[in-house]
Subunit: 300 residues, 2 copies
């Protein structure tokens, strides 16, 4: 993982280096190479600004270099290799695998469809953070003890677009930490990275958490695990929310499993006023996280 980057120019869209970057659409290639891919000026800027420690290479067109000179400055400050490539090579770097690939190539959404077609002139490569339950535990442990905190736990959220959008919304609502259990989609898949629009680099996002361990750790801490359920007796807007809270979000189709739901000390129902039978996981998360933010601000 720490070999020096190849500083020779990329001259062919069919070169081995280009194929390795394109392969980063797949989880197994990301693990094998220890790398992930970031596309588009906004996301690359976030990577270079907020997580320069992860950044390794930036590839961009002459046009993108002219349009976004700040990327060159940020890359230089971060000591990151910058290479200028032509449009054809740039497109080859983000070539999508055939539909049905493990990351759900056909299942993306979140309005990111444009990004499937063009990376807007810039692609970055970063070091893939390890999937590490111990790192998740340490990150929880390290949260400040003397103020309000909001943690978001994604458990079995399978769609990479949803994972990215949830990270973006968690960021916007001021979450301090996002943990993903092993059975969630990888936030470092290109689809999730695109959907997070840079938020992946704005707050600590840790993968590989084990839900039972996280719940046990929370129960011994002063952070209350909270979940939504259509069968909960209390409504979100009526219940007192603890200032230190960890929202656990579950699978798109099935929600949270019963054991996890039973282990959460706080379960709330989101009021549904019309005839809708349910909310999707992202809508439910948005309501809970912005209500948490509203209370936090009202209390400040």
């Amino acid at each position: 993982m720490n070999e020096r980057p190849d500083r020779s120019p990329i001259t062919s869209p069919r070169s081995e280096r280009v194929r390795k970057v394109a392969a980063l659409a797949g989880r197994s290639a990301r693990r094998k190479q220890g790398r992930f891919r970031v596309e588009g000026p906004q996301s690359v800027r976030s990577l270079l600004e907020h997580r320069p420690d992860l950044a390794r290479e930036v590839h961009l067109t002459e046009r993108a270099a002219t349009d976004h000179p700040e990327l060159l400055d940020l890359a230089r400050d971060a000591g990151v290799l910058v290479s200028t490539v032509d449009e054809q090579i740039l497109r080859a770097l983000v070539r999508e695998p055939a539909a049905g690939a493990p990351d759900g190539a056909a299942a993306d959404g979140s309005g990111a469809a444009g990004a499937l077609v063009t990376p807007q002139g810039v692609v970055a490569i970063g070091d893939l953070p390890a999937e590490d339950p111990a790192a998740a535990a340490s990150a929880l442990e390290a949260l400040p003890a003397d103020r309000a905190v909001t943690v978001v736990i994604l458990h079995e959220v399978r769609d990479p677009g949803n994972v990215g959008t949830l990270i973006r919304t968690a960021d916007a609502a001021g979450a301090d930490l996002v943990l993903l259990t092993r059975t969630s989609a990888d936030p470092y898949s290109p689809k999730a990275v695109r959907a997070s629009v840079g938020s992946l680099f704005h707050l600590p996002v840790l993968t590989g958490a084990v839900i039972e361990d996280v719940l046990e750790q929370l129960s011994g801490s002063a952070i209350t695990a909270a979940a939504t359920s259509g069968y909960a007796s209390s409504e979100l807007f009526d219940v007192e929310l603890p200032p230190r809270i960890a929202w656990i979000l579950g699978n798109e189709a099935r929600g949270l499993d019963e054991a996890t739901l039973a282990a959460a000390p706080l379960t709330v129902r989101i009021p549904l006023a019309g005839h809708a039978e349910s909310l999707n996981v992202h809508t439910a998360a948005t309501v809970c996280l912005f209500e948490t933010l509203r209370r936090r601000r009202a209390g400040a």
Copy 2:
């Protein structure tokens, strides 16, 4: 549009009738035929329960008929033709056109990817409501004058999955009416219908509205047009929300155009607590609509 349905059994997946239903994925075919398509037991049940006046035909497999006997009862009560078809014909009814079709076949999302593959044994055909600015005006006019109302206006929301999800969220938050301007995606596209998960039939949803006319009508009514803007001086959580409110939601990439924003008497900023630069249109709508619901319930 009012010819009697063909009651003969469908015997081939390549028949003209099957091809006409499959073609309903395209907006021009929907307009030409005056029909739209609904897939899956939950959405078909909502159509038959809430808008039996629109329902014309239900096609389902033997298996689906056994698993969902209530659909047969509802169809009989609605006087709707029911035909039993084999799985091969059912799949042919929902065959997707090639990617790049006008409805954005490759751009769907919202966790509805499974529905692209299987309609879960049931497909219904309905009469397509006309795109009619006068109907939109009448629906606004007809809202009760003596209580709180929430209207949602979608202006230039281009992704059918977003349109469907926004209708679902509007329903869940108790909206009384959804209006779509001509430049929004069609809520009767299969992708939008799937993403709305039945909510399309739970509340009045009218297409073909003209934004200038709607704004003028609102300004003469006791319903306040409201919009979000990152530059608004008031924050959503601090500002007084009128009990009769119409939230105007704009394009995914560009937001609302300046003229529309300037014409809205109320603009609010959604507080962003982290480093996220913006929210997507659905997240912003969720925050505004559920805050509206929370205030409404707190005031009751």
